[in-house]
């Protein structure tokens, strides 16, 4: 079975003035893979992610996301991916249903399709009672689960998740990861950043950025063996402190 590659990055670089935020990073991500993108604050993760989702032009190097080029086909990339972050996910002053309708519209889904998807989503997450409540009134964990489902509305090939579970309680955090596993199992590729090192272990492969460079990239198991560590937390500390 030939494995399909959905993200190809070669020598990708971003320079701001005389500061190199991302320095010639290269990696491939396979279809249906859960790829963890880790690094300390300021290591260059967000800058790299912005280039991959087509909202920041690279200084040099190449990248292909969902079959499209990050220099010339940024609009196609945006249609083929989903995105959610801890900071921005849904509109607090719209109801759950209104958010779904809004994002469905943005992604160009037909009215019928939106209504179908909306019902399905509400049923799957058991949100019947709060479908007409303002999102701002819901607990953080619910919001994040809804936001993840909304990021999947248009059946994107890849979903980018930027610290999706920050501050979420441990039970909901795990329900969130079960949703991630399910999406990946259905063939959606997951590209995720997190500061929870136990979550790094849920990923198929993990890359760790230090000062603009990718210093390690492997399965959590191999990384732990390689660094003689018993946890990803320890691997991270060894790499980022050296």
């Amino acid at each position: 079975m030939k494995e399909e590659t959905v993200i190809k990055v070669e020598g990708l670089t971003k320079v701001f003035g005389d500061f190199t935020a991302v320095n010639k990073i290269s990696f491939h991500v396979r279809k249906g893979e859960i790829f963890g993108f880790l690094g300390a604050n300021g290591a260059g993760k967000t800058t790299a992610m912005k280039m991959l989702i087509g909202i920041s032009a690279p200084s040099s190097g190449s990248a292909n996301v969902a079959g499209f080029d990050v220099y010339t086909q940024t609009e196609d990339i945006k249609k083929s991916i989903g995105y959610m972050s801890q900071k921005f996910a849904l509109y607090d002053d719209l109801t759950v249903k209104e958010n779904i309708r809004f994002f469905g519209g943005i992604y160009g889904l037909s009215k019928n399709r939106i209504s179908q998807k909306s019902n399905l989503l509400i049923e799957e997450l058991g949100l019947e009672k709060v479908a007409h409540s303002l999102v701002g009134s819901l607990p953080l964990g619910w919001k994040q689960k809804i936001a993840f489902s909304v990021s999947l509305l248009h059946d994107p090939k890849i979903v980018f998740l930027d610290e999706p579970t920050g501050g979420v309680d441990p039970i909901t955090r795990r329900q969130f990861w079960e949703m991630i596993y399910k999406a990946a199992n259905n063939g959606t590729t997951i590209f995720v950043t997190t500061h929870y090192m136990d979550e790094a272990e849920y990923c198929d492969r993990v890359s760790i950025m230090v000062d603009g460079n990718i210093e390690a990239l492997d399965t959590p198991k191999n990384l732990k063996t390689h660094f003689g560590s018993d946890s990803m937390n320890d691997v991270f500390l060894k790499l980022a402190r050296s």
Partner: protein
């Protein structure tokens, strides 16, 4: 007794932010409030720092009552709120001098206390606070909260959104402050940080689930826990959840933490079931409970 919280409750409209909370923190103790967003941690901090009145109950900090002696408390405590709340358009040094002056002291007088922390941002002392990185803001905020040499330090989620390396450094700083005799009440949503506290309170939805040392809390976990792994994690979770005798199934790093309803649970039986369901490379091994296991077990009830 440094902090004495006695049956404190606080509601916002219909929401019970705090429901009958009682905690005692000893002099010089490093005490952790462990719980997710919305647990009530910030409300408790605001009540203890005299910024908010409780609906019921009483509390004292460093021997002063939070209502009758609120002015005395404000002189004795340092408070680092969860949201960065220094003056963004003042420089690093100006912020520090401002807080020192407000409390009638000088940077020089208490420099010893903040030296460890402040030297790391001193090279940037002429930079505006708004232009600092997250880690540097955190260090400046801690310096400002310490500059009047408080007896009690309140830190509301100082490490949220901070990477593991900076988090580790931050906790090392807290340990050194504790060695200087300062009582510290710190909140965090990261359960792994709980182990670094002398004692912790697990808190969710305004209620205290348990208060004890981190070691005692994990020892109280009621059931044997097993690490379970297989070739396909998604399928494994599905099949474990469908198993008739399961008590709890939670992903935990590389493995799934599984507990069984029965007292005489035989792992071989589970292995046979999983094999029959098409799972390969099955791994089942007894493991130790963590703070997070305990938190979830208590939160489920």
């Amino acid at each position: 007794m440094s902090i004495h919280i006695d049956h404190i409750s606080k509601s916002y409209g219909k929401v019970n932010a705090l429901d009958d909370i009682s905690i005692r923190v000893d002099q010089g103790e490093l005490f952790g409030l462990i719980g997710p967003d919305g647990a009530g941690k910030t409300t408790l901090f605001r009540i203890l720092t005299t910024l908010l009145l409780p609906d019921h109950g009483s509390a004292s900090v460093a021997g002063y009552d939070i209502i009758a002696d609120f002015k005395a408390i404000r002189k004795q405590v340092g408070y680092m709120p969860g949201r960065f709340s220094l003056y963004q358009d003042l420089t690093v040094e100006e912020n520090l001098r401002f807080f020192a002056t407000i409390f009638g002291t000088t940077i020089a007088e208490n420099y010893d206390l903040i030296r460890d922390i402040y030297v790391q941002i001193e090279p940037f002392k002429n930079r505006r606070a708004g232009k600092l990185s997250g880690g540097m803001k955190q260090k400046l905020a801690l310096s400002c909260a310490l500059i009047h040499k408080p007896k009690v330090l309140f830190l509301d989620e100082p490490t949220t959104g901070v990477d593991p390396v900076s988090r580790k450094e931050f906790w090392e700083m807290l340990k050194r402050l504790q060695d200087k005799g300062i009582t510290i009440l710190v909140s965090t949503p990261y359960m792994d940080e709980a182990a670094l506290c002398d004692r912790i309170a697990l808190i969710q939805d305004g209620r205290i689930l348990e208060i004890d040392t981190p070691k005692a809390i994990v020892e109280h976990y009621p059931k044997p826990i097993f690490d379970v792994g297989a070739h396909n994690t998604y399928l494994l979770i599905e099949k474990l959840n469908a198993y008739a005798h399961k008590h709890s199934v939670f992903p935990f790093g590389e493995y799934i933490h599984y507990t069984d309803q029965r007292d005489g649970f035989d792992p071989l039986e589970l292995r046979a079931y999983l094999k029959n369901e098409g799972l390969q490379n099955i791994h089942i091994e007894r493991t130790k409970a963590t703070i997070e296991d305990t938190f979830m077990e208590l939160a489920k009830q």
